[in-house]
Assembly symmetry: D2
Homo-oligomer: 288 residues x 4
């Protein structure tokens, strides 16, 4: 896990010889491939690939790897990147008052399970300040009064400013119960991860457990997805469900649901920060 | 499992003393309660109850049990019934060409796992005749040409006639790929069980696996429900999901999905024929 | 959830009329039964029962309920108790260095999901002191040097003294990596809950993930059980499994396994503190 | 699924450049790789690989592919094979009286889901003859009287003779309740697949559901594995579990367990016949 690695991810139009070309490129420098995954999307005939290479098997740095790979990438019209495991992703967490996802993420961070940096936590409530600051992480409050669009717009500008200042890589809405403005979504496309407390596309929008209760479903679920400009309709990264029965009230669902929400968010975020998620239209390829 | 039992199911307005009254009634005759389940619906304040009593512990027949229970039932304004395990439910199976659910149900029937009678199987295709008849079960063909409403109406009249002649208790749509007419649904309310190949309310209607594929969900599911006059919107009896990933095509989903469909239908039907399902509005109470 | 309730649990030799007698007893005082569950163990012909009664539906206190119930209990030779939801169970947590279960339990406690008191946390390491004390919970260190039986015996005496002083109801071994002395187990029979990181009875004892890796199983699991005098062989309260594959190393299993361990322990502890677990020989009845 | 494909599987000592060499080999002939999977076993430093290639993308036959690949295979000291999807594996099924797995396999076969040939079914009971023969599959009876070792030895000789005559590729013990002689196991190493009705290594040997009941586990399971000379200890291909509770009797477990057994066997067999399973010591790599 803690080994130094370079991760190459790419997509390009499918054709014969891509794997051979990339493998030969890596092999000529003695590169040791630790993990390799491929996928072709049948509708778009787009090819997707991910390789993890042991950094110590290559005679040069990630920068040099990028420089040398560029010619091959051009030849195959690749969209691509090389990430270096020594550079941890910077994850800014947004949260309201429900803290189960935050508590879970912070534990995974401080135990070293999630290899990320958390430059700050931002909230529209003060209640979690002490817990966050105990971790040595800065906590910022933004004011989001109900029914005050101007104040909300200002708050999102503040969030945007903080995120950019902190050189954030990804923003996690860890049960941040606010609808994100469309232009904000557009600005950070593919960089905002949300956890929605239903099995999407069932029960979009507010109070999904109430919706589930009234529909009488026998399972509840949670969905981790990239935020897009349509509410709860962005590319899905991870989902899960759990069994309930007729005896469970909405409060029971809320309580049980927390366990799926935090597990699904943690898995989805891990896939993202390990460069396992490639977006293809409104779908994701997740190379687990 | 094969013990002779009476099953009492009831619902009534909730109040103190229902369980005490029913228990005392059963106990005064020495009745041995093998299973007992209760539920109060919080929205309607309706109470639901199910008790299985060993037949040999009572000094009289099911008919006599019904006669004696009537006074108590009146006092509490109960909707109720007593079923005798010696009288197996008569299940008429409707099927098109996909036979995985039919194959599964017939095996559970012939192995004695599902304690039902199957008076006949009805299909709009001839392809399964030989397999059904090998089991010694009559097979009826009904003609359902595409885009011919008159012929369809006639076919449903024929189905209705067969079902009534065979004294059917419940009709199972075991992947019967035809939309059931509204008046037919109304006529057999609570007596038609369908298996839908998605996790409802996601992906109502035709081609749910195609819908799932295009939405990019990470789990697929199946739902067993009573048919109501709104398509795929009746009370849900049982559901389940299974994990897929980006590499799975629609054909893969269809193939994997069969395993959930047949498992979910078999569980749902078993709950129904064992009198474990009580309907409350558009929801079900399932006393497993 | 936060309603004031009395919970009656009992076991006695099975016979006709137990439910009727108990129900009539509760009903005569207008007692409103919110949940009721029954079970008969076929091997011992022992009957088990649990009822939750709304406290405000009864005209007297839990003490008076106990006093009045005693005669009935004698008649049926019941082992029984009445618990009052206003008196929270006092849970002493023991932990070594792995803190995922501790973090999970403390969050459930501070969010009000687990309705318990935690009078103290005891550890043979100092590393979790700050985190525990941030919660306002006393943290006690006990010295458990390797290969020093005398020191260990002293440490367990210290634990025992703390537990008794704090009037503990139950001790939770939240990944407390020490073998508990036999006489200590005997002293607190049915009051020590352990989480073992395998699907018991597979992989008893040390390093179960290593054992799982070498056997090549396709699922790993966790088991929450009461501690008995035989290692990892006490009555099982709750278990779960998750899928792994050939690519997962022992480290991966350790990492994924944490999520099952904390979920299984949290469910098992909740069942225990809500008086849902009744022990029958070396098995448990769990009235969920 | 029905596309004509060649499947290359191999293992060899791990070193840099294997993927590059194999990919270049395939690419030089314009071979279109549809699926590719790799794994390195950390303990043995053995590399494992599987590639599916579209047959119509190569200008020659499987035989020619084998001939050309041999030099490369030698260079890397590979153990390898190339399978042609037009040549279906020949699966001989052995069964006793429990027919749920047989019914499931035969349905998957006749619906085209499992792309295999079933040259015959062999049983030590006559009860399933009619069902098998309805499928047009020969059914052979072998006499296996209890406590008669000589007769059993003769029966296994007969099975061996049939299997060889029918040019069987793999033997499936679909709940064949007989212990297979050690020399028979040795003779067909890696070619006998068994379904055991427990989550191995828990509950080896006879009556695993009884063992599970008495241990009081909260989940039951099933395991599909290659038969080795030690009882229920061969390499595991696939496993699964399902939840039970205290109310479930041994008979209930037997009934519920059938659903896991048939699902796990069907998955395991599919992995095997699609050349997805590579054996590494007493473990398997399953390239799903």
């Amino acid at each position: 896990m803690t080994e130094h690695r370079y991760t190459l991810t790419l997509s390009c139009p499918d054709r014969v010889g891509i794997v051979a070309a990339v493998s030969a490129f890596v092999a000529q420098y003695g590169g040791w491939i630790v993990e390799a995954s491929y996928h072709t999307d049948l509708e778009t005939q787009q090819f997707f690939m991910r390789q993890e290479i042991r950094a110590d098997s290559l005679p040069f740095t990630a920068a040099e790897l990028r420089a040398r790979f560029a010619a091959l990438a051009d030849e195959f019209q690749m969209t691509w990147q090389v990430n270096d495991s020594d550079f941890r992703k910077r994850v800014v967490v947004l949260v309201s008052q429900h803290d189960h996802c935050l508590n879970d993420l912070l534990h995974r961070w401080r135990s070293g399970e999630l290899r990320i940096d958390i430059p700050c936590v931002i909230s529209n409530h003060q209640s979690l300040r002490s817990f966050v600051e105990w971790h040595g992480i800065p906590f910022y409050y933004v004011d989001m009064p109900k029914d005050n669009d101007q104040a909300k717009a200002t708050a999102f500008e503040e969030i945007s400013r903080r995120f950019d200042e902190e050189r954030g890589d990804v923003m996690v809405l860890a049960r941040f119960m606010q609808i994100v403005p469309v232009d904000f979504c557009a600005c950070y496309s593919g960089r905002i991860i949300n956890i929605h407390h239903s099995f999407l596309p069932s029960f979009v929008g507010a109070k999904p457990y109430h919706q589930a209760y009234h529909r009488g479903v026998k399972l509840i679920g949670a969905t981790c997805h990239y935020v897009s400009d349509e509410l709860d309709a962005g590319p899905i990264i991870e989902q899960d469900t759990m069994r309930i029965d007729h005896g469970d009230t909405v409060d029971d669902m809320v309580r049980y649901g927390k366990d799926i929400e935090k597990a699904v968010l943690a898995r989805g975020l891990r896939y993202h920060v390990e460069d396992r998620v490639l977006v293809c239209g409104n779908k994701t390829i997740v190379f687990r």
